[in-house]
Every structure is written in C-alpha cells, then in structure tokens.
C-alpha cells in the first residue's frame, strides 16, 4: 500500500490552537506541505460595534481583543484617539501607563511561556508561569479591580493614580518574578527535549519576515531590530533605558529566548518608571462628552504580540466614523504556512505556539 499525502483538519476545537482557530493541514506522511488557517470562529463584529459607541465606550471593548494583554489594547486605542483629538497626556499619566503596559507585557509573556510549554508537554512550566503571573494580576486587581480585562488605561491617562503603597507592592512583585523565571529557564533552556522540539524548527529569514509583515518577538527572533518603543516612541518610552533582545536563527527556540529576555527588560523599565514617577495628574482633564472634529489618524504601539495599530476616523460627532485595528497576530499568522512547510506536522503546534497568537485579536 502506498502512503500518499492527505489533508488533516485541526480545530476549531483543539486544546493547542490558542483559541478557536481551524487549521487545514496538507501532509505527506509526517511532513507538512501546507497550512491554511480558517478564521472567523471568534469574529464578534467589534469594528462594526464600535461605530455605534462613543469614543469612551469603545475602550472597555478593546480589552476583549488581545485578552491576555488587555492594557496594551487600551493604550493603543487611547493614544490614537488622543492624537486625533489633540489631547495632551500629563507626564505622570504617561509614566503610569508605561508601568501598566510593561507589567502587562510581563504577564502576557508569562502566560505565553506557560501555554507554549504546556503544548509541547512541559506542564509544570504552565503552573509555575501562571503562579508568577498571578502576582501581577494581583497588582491589576488592586489598581482598578479587574484581573484580566483590566480597562485601566483611559482616554487622557490612567484610571487612577498610582500611590506609594501600590508602587512598593509592585517593586515587591518585581523581586519575585526573576526567581520564577530562573525556575522556568532551569527547566527549559538546556532541556534536551525542549531543544529538539524548538531549535531549527519553524525558521523564517529576516527578509521573509519583513515581507510577511511580521512584527514583535517573531520578527526580532529573526534578527530584525524593530521595536516601536524605540523607533517611534510613545508615552515617554524614550525616557527609559532598555535593550531590545534579538535572536539569530529565527526559529522557535529564539522566539522563546527573546520573550523571556523581554520579561527581564520589562522589569527594568518598570523599576525606572517607578523611580522617576513625576508629580502631576494621572489623567488629563476630559470633556464630559468627547466630540472630535473630522480627521483620521493611525497610531502604533509595541504590544506584547507585535505592533498593534489603530486607525481612527472621526466625523465631528462623539462616535467614531471608523476604527480599524491593525492586529499583530492576524498578520503574524499569515506566515504560519511559510514557517511550517517542510517541518513535521507535530511541529505545527510548536510553531503556532511560538507566534503567540490570540484569536480575539485575529478575528476581532
């Protein structure tokens, strides 16, 4: 009997697809010939819904896009609206936003390493990473009452001030994280099985990565030093001293290393922001009803998943004419086919995991 190529369906219900994603795989024995993602199983009509809400009402819905890093979505949208409306955000608010955004990046990457390791089979790492992440969620809960869909960044600044007791609790959490990170690294970095499943898998070159529009850690793992916090700084990021980790081979293992190193850099940034927190208001004075004169703006930030952008078009009313979201996961997922070809089909899980996608952001 001759073994021929066949099609395999993965999802939309699958424990490792990071949400309701359907993948159609064409395989020849165990080698992947092509991957076609089928989207839309979580398409909730966000962009349409936003057109019937006020600018302020849109903010809590942005939490539900990349729900693992909700504050980043808030920040991306609020910065775009502020640019369009000409709202000046006080410096204290900008620093508070940096603290929140970097803590969110930390939490997001910790969740990622947990899911990634769990997909490959290292379940203990999931428990370790989530335990560490819980400390960060405690901070969010204390700050504004929510753990996951935080809505802590609002148009004009942050929802409330970051007082000294909370700042010292944040510093205490930052002490705990590196310890947990060391545990994770001790389990995975030089682990033979981990390396067999990640080194050399899912490679993409720097040129291909840029052509596919990849952003975030998958791009930086291919050696491309593109980080919006450095290239087009926003929210006073240029006040802080931090490195942008880069990989060399563009494989799954490098993406893993890049994200773990980004956690360390985030800790560095939060410490500096807390140290240098200036006096002032946590939020600009906002009108009761925010109406924005006709115009259009496109603003990007470096979210944990990649470059997140919002195009906001206003028409003079208190509701946006159109909000278009540039989703980093949506664009990164396009490169999955390229990365998977030639690899074994059991590597598809690892490669998909290394892209760090969130279906809420992909499907909107």
């Amino acid at each position: 009997m001759e073994l021929r190529e066949y099609d395999l369906n993965m999802g939309p219900q699958h424990p490792s697809t990071h949400g309701v994603l359907r993948l159609k795989l064409a395989v020849d024995n165990e080698v992947v010939l092509g991957v076609e993602p089928v989207l839309g199983y979580l398409h909730r009509g966000m962009e349409k819904l936003w057109e019937s809400l006020t600018f302020t009402q849109v903010v809590p819905l942005t939490d539900r896009l990349d729900y693992i890093a909700s504050l980043s979505n808030n920040l991306g949208y609020c910065l775009a609206v502020e640019k369009l409306a000409g709202i000046e955000v006080p410096k204290r608010a900008r620093y508070i936003r940096v603290v929140l955004a970097e803590l969110q990046r930390l939490a997001s990457h910790l969740a990622w390493v947990g899911f990634m390791a769990n997909d490959i089979g290292a379940m203990s790492v999931l428990l370790y990473a989530f335990e560490a992440r819980e400390h960060v969620l405690d901070i969010f809960e204390e700050y504004c009452g929510a753990r996951l869909t935080v809505h802590g960044i609002r148009i004009g600044g942050a929802v409330r001030d970051l007082d000294a007791p909370l700042a010292s609790r944040i510093r205490a959490v930052l002490e705990k994280i590196p310890e947990r990170l060391e545990d994770v690294r001790a389990l995975l970095d030089e682990n033979r099985i981990w390396k067999e499943r990640t080194v050399g898998v899912g490679r993409i070159s720097a040129a291909d990565a840029i052509d596919y529009g990849l952003t975030g850690p998958p791009l930086r793992a291919s050696g491309v030093a593109w980080d919006m916090r450095k290239d087009l700084p926003y929210s006073s990021y240029d006040d802080f001293d931090f490195d942008v980790p880069l990989g060399a081979n563009g494989d799954v293992y490098d993406r893993y290393l890049v994200r773990l190193e980004e956690i360390c850099q985030s800790i560095r940034i939060v410490r500096q922001a807390l140290e240098g927190l200036p006096e002032g208001d946590p939020r600009a004075k906002m009108p009761r009803v925010l109406k924005i004169a006709p115009g259009e703006v496109f603003h990007t930030i470096e979210a944990p998943k990649g470059v997140l952008g919002f195009t906001v078009r206003s028409n003079g009313s208190d509701k946006p004419e159109r909000v278009k979201m540039k989703s980093p996961s949506f664009i990164n997922l396009q490169a999955l086919d390229h990365m998977c070809r030639g690899n074994l089909f059991s590597d598809v899980i690892g490669i998909l995991g290394s892209l760090d996608i969130v279906l809420g952001e992909i499907d909107k």
Binding site: G40, D211, G213, T311
Partner: protein
C-alpha cells in the same frame, strides 16, 4: 499626546519623485512631520506601490484599511476609500496612500509586492465587498462562505439581517 514627529525632509523628495513618475494620478500629497500622505487615482495605485517599495524603500505594508463613504458629508463621491499604510524599516518612515474606489470597481492587488497584503485584502473584500485584481485567492476570511452581505458597510445593520440570533 500627539507626539511631534521630527520633520523628515526625505519624504518631500519621495513625494516629488512620485508625482514626477505618476503625473496626474497623484491627486494630492502632503508631508506632515514624519508622515507622507498621498491620494491617488485608482490606476495609479499599482505603479505607486511599486515605486514606494522598490525605489523609496518602504519595505513593510503595515495595514490596509477600507472605509465606506456612504454617510460622509457631501455624499455622492466614490463609495469606498482604501488606505494603505507603508513603513520603511529601518528609519521609521511612514507613508499613507489613499485611493477611492466605487461600487463594483476593482483595485489592483498589492499581494505581488507585499505578501502581508493577502489577508488584509480578503478582509476588505469580506467586510466591504471591494475586489482586488490579481489577488491569488480572494474569498471571505471571517464570515462563512455562504454569508450574504458585507457587514462593515454603513447600510448593513449591526444585528445582522437574519432576524437576530
């Protein structure tokens, strides 16, 4: 806060070169701080994108955003506007290319130049019904294949047409 982008004089040179190359197809062009914004006639899209990528060095396509002009003040113009956001890396230069397209008209696909345009154009087709000439596989990306209508059009109701779910 609106970051005041430093002025980037090279964008003015790029605009001049683009206008020189495309002539009347460039309907408007302005450089504002670190961003170049051009409005093109439909036929100018493909040559403009080619010029911007291959000669002006805009190696990344960040986003394709489509807009429905049905409600826009002083209606009567073309139904849709499609905006391309290009980025040059390294250097952090941005270009905005806007093209108007009417109901039933087609735009040249950007996929031959930028592979990241693939799904973005499918999204514009799914949500608005705009067709792109030369796209390798233009079909819906979010809605099921048998769905009728294009949800992001202004005349499509938020709750849909199936009588609620």
């Amino acid at each position: 806060m609106p970051e005041d982008r430093a002025d980037r004089p090279e964008l003015r040179k790029i605009l001049a070169a683009l206008a020189g190359r495309l002539g009347g197809a460039v309907l408007a062009g302005v450089v504002d701080g670190g961003e170049l914004s051009v409005r093109l006639a439909k036929d100018g899209l493909a040559p403009a994108l080619r010029f911007l990528k291959e000669e002006a060095g805009f190696n990344a396509l960040e986003d394709i955003a489509a807009f429905d002009n049905l409600d826009a003040a002083g209606g009567g113009g073309p139904r849709f506007t499609v905006v391309y956001r290009l980025y040059r890396f390294p250097g952090a230069l941005r270009t905005r290319v806007a093209v108007d397209v009417g109901e039933g008209e087609r735009l040249a696909s950007a996929v031959p130049l930028y592979r990241s345009a693939d799904w973005a154009e499918r999204e514009a087709f799914d949500m608005f019904g705009i067709r792109f000439e030369g796209h390798p596989d233009l079909r819906r990306i979010y809605m099921p294949d048998d769905f009728e209508g294009h949800p992001l059009r202004k005349d499509f109701p938020l709750a849909g047409r199936t009588g609620g779910a």
